[in-house]
């Protein structure tokens, strides 16, 4: 292992102690590391789900299983102490009438609706930009690509800047714009990976030679062919936006309370078992989403490497 080998020379023929060690234990050590990391990452998720059905967790593992009390607390089905940390109810008055609709599970419902709005913006913004930088070569396309797949600003800074710039904007709209901006890289990456597996030039030229206008080519030929990427991008953006915390924490002021703030209030104030139920609610959503992604040929959230 002499240093000149690193500069292009030939490595020593003598393997040395590191070489011998790596031959015997290298593969085992790497495999063990993967196992340790997988357990470190996944075990607390499983433990939280299991503990959400437990009545006590004072020893190493939770005990007294079979209770739904923690879930009743976070879903707002029981009136006991700590009810202000439940999902809550959202009273919507219908404009023009005296009607008031009470939406149950308000925090979750509100965040899912706002995040869905963010996904619609992401689609309108992310699909065209992904196509532009994949299909065309123009001045600044590399820079634009970098800007599109890297979030420009951390959520917490964007949050306060946004709040001060547009002080009178309703919380829901502010969150929607923030979510769409913060999550657009995931949409661009997902759609881009679909575009890259297609012969875009040939597709475009075939459609054009058959008489389709360029807008029609884009909307009726290119976009449907990238369906998988668009769908998995939408699912990922929706899930991530629904639980976005940093931007939300800075912008949120009035009810309805966003889902991530509900999680935060539980994590900082509730018992470990009730918190376990609260985060398990999100884990169940992510598990469902992961299954949906799997059916689209996408391995979970693995596209989220870049952030």
């Amino acid at each position: 292992m002499s240093t000149d080998a690193a500069e292009g020379g030939v490595p020593d023929r003598e393997v040395g102690p590191i070489g011998r060690l790596s031959t015997t234990v290298g593969r085992g050590a790497v495999t063990a590391l993967i196992a340790v990391v997988a357990v470190f990452l996944v075990a607390p998720i499983l433990l939280a789900v299991v503990a959400s059905f437990a009545g006590d967790w004072t020893g190493i593992l939770p005990t007294e299983f079979g209770t739904l009390e923690n879930w009743r607390h976070v879903l707002g089905l029981s009136e006991a102490a700590g009810a202000q940390r439940a999902l809550g109810t959202w009273s919507l008055s219908i404009p023009g009438t005296a009607l008031v609709v009470n939406v149950p599970f308000a925090s979750l419902f509100f965040s899912l609706v706002v995040a869905l709005g963010g996904v619609l913006v992401n689609l309108a913004v992310g699909v065209p930009i992904a196509y532009a930088v994949t299909r065309y070569d123009f001045r600044g396309s590399d820079l634009l690509n970098t800007v599109a797949v890297l979030p420009l600003v951390p959520g917490i800074i964007l949050g306060i800047a946004f709040l001060r710039t547009y002080p009178n904007i309703p919380t829901g709209i502010a969150l929607l714009i923030g979510y769409s901006l913060l999550k657009v890289p995931y949409m661009v990456l997902a759609v881009q990976s679909s575009f890259e597996s297609m012969d875009l030039r040939q597709l475009e030229e075939s459609a054009r030679s058959l008489g389709a206008s360029w807008p029609r080519t884009f909307l009726a030929v290119i976009v449907p062919n990238a369906k998988r990427g668009i769908l998995s991008g939408s699912i990922i953006c929706w899930t991530l936006a629904a639980a976005e915390f940093n931007f939300t924490y800075m912008v949120y002021s009035r009810n309805p309370r966003p889902f991530s703030i509900f999680l935060y209030n539980n994590i900082t104030n509730s018992s470990i078992l009730q918190t376990a139920a609260a985060v398990s609610l999100y884990f169940l959503i992510v598990a469902g989403v992961t299954a949906a992604l799997q059916s689209l040929g996408q391995r979970g959230f693995s596209i989220g490497g870049a952030r």
């Binding site: 080998a5 913004v125 924490y249 999680l263 870049a306």
Partner: protein
Amino acid sequence: MSTLDGSGPLARLRGGTARLVSPRTEADRERRRIAALTLPFLGLAVIGAFVPLAYMFRMSVSESRFGIAGVQLDSYVALFESIAAFVPVLGDGVAADPVYGEVIWNSLWFGALTTVVSVAVGIAIAHGLEKYRLPRKGLLVTLISFPISLPGIVVAFMIQIWFSQTGVLTNVFAALSGAEPLDLALTGQPPETTLAILGLFLGYLYSMIPRATFLLRGSYAEVNEDAEAAARALGATPWQTFRYVTLPQIRPGVVGALILTFRTALAIFGTVLVLKALSVVTFRFQYEISNGYDLPMASALAGLFFVFTLLFTFLGLRYTSAEVAG
């Protein structure tokens, strides 16, 4: 400035815009398509990011703590004085409170340390996933990617499940060593203690290892396996093969992963807010807002942070061998 002859940049811009609206050649039409495709994104970026950021820089020089009024540079002066006061030898002559220098230093060293560890572990995981015959590999990839979906506050709770006073590993270690769980817990400790920082360190790794791994998997997918097989056949050990054949091929990916993972580390907020182990820039920013509402100071800090990450990312990606394989 007042004369607008036909060849000035303004006239060219006007001519370009006119051709964009009513194109004459195919090249013009392509340019119009590119403009139409990029416009929605640019619009969102301007409304959502550029205008608020410009406003934030304006706030950082405002004389009022609550709105825009007048111009002062006090917050930047205070910020840079504080940074100077923190520098070991030089700082002795500066009377300022080194608190901002300290939070910036905390962000940098803690971010760098967690980045290096995460990328090193990420290389090993990506290597194993690509080269070894592991059982249920697809499931393993899905499981390792799961934490990417978790917000920082939930990551903090995961660390509490392992290492709080009632945490699983805390109690296992307590049972093995006979010590009190309170003395072994890594969360709920006073800030800046070794145990608390170790807990936060593991929280950062929880967020960053999956991201580093999937950044590196892209590079591993492009490695030339014939060269590796040749090296092995010629008698190189697995370590030599990795060191002299695999690593040179993935090096641009590793540099790219280091840059992006460091960015991630600098932007982490929720985990720090819950675990409260170390005052980093994002945490201090929140503190400036919620205690005393010192907007000019918070904006100056945020402005410096933003300029630093921007320069760091673009110069890093531009002037190193970095490559980001999404």
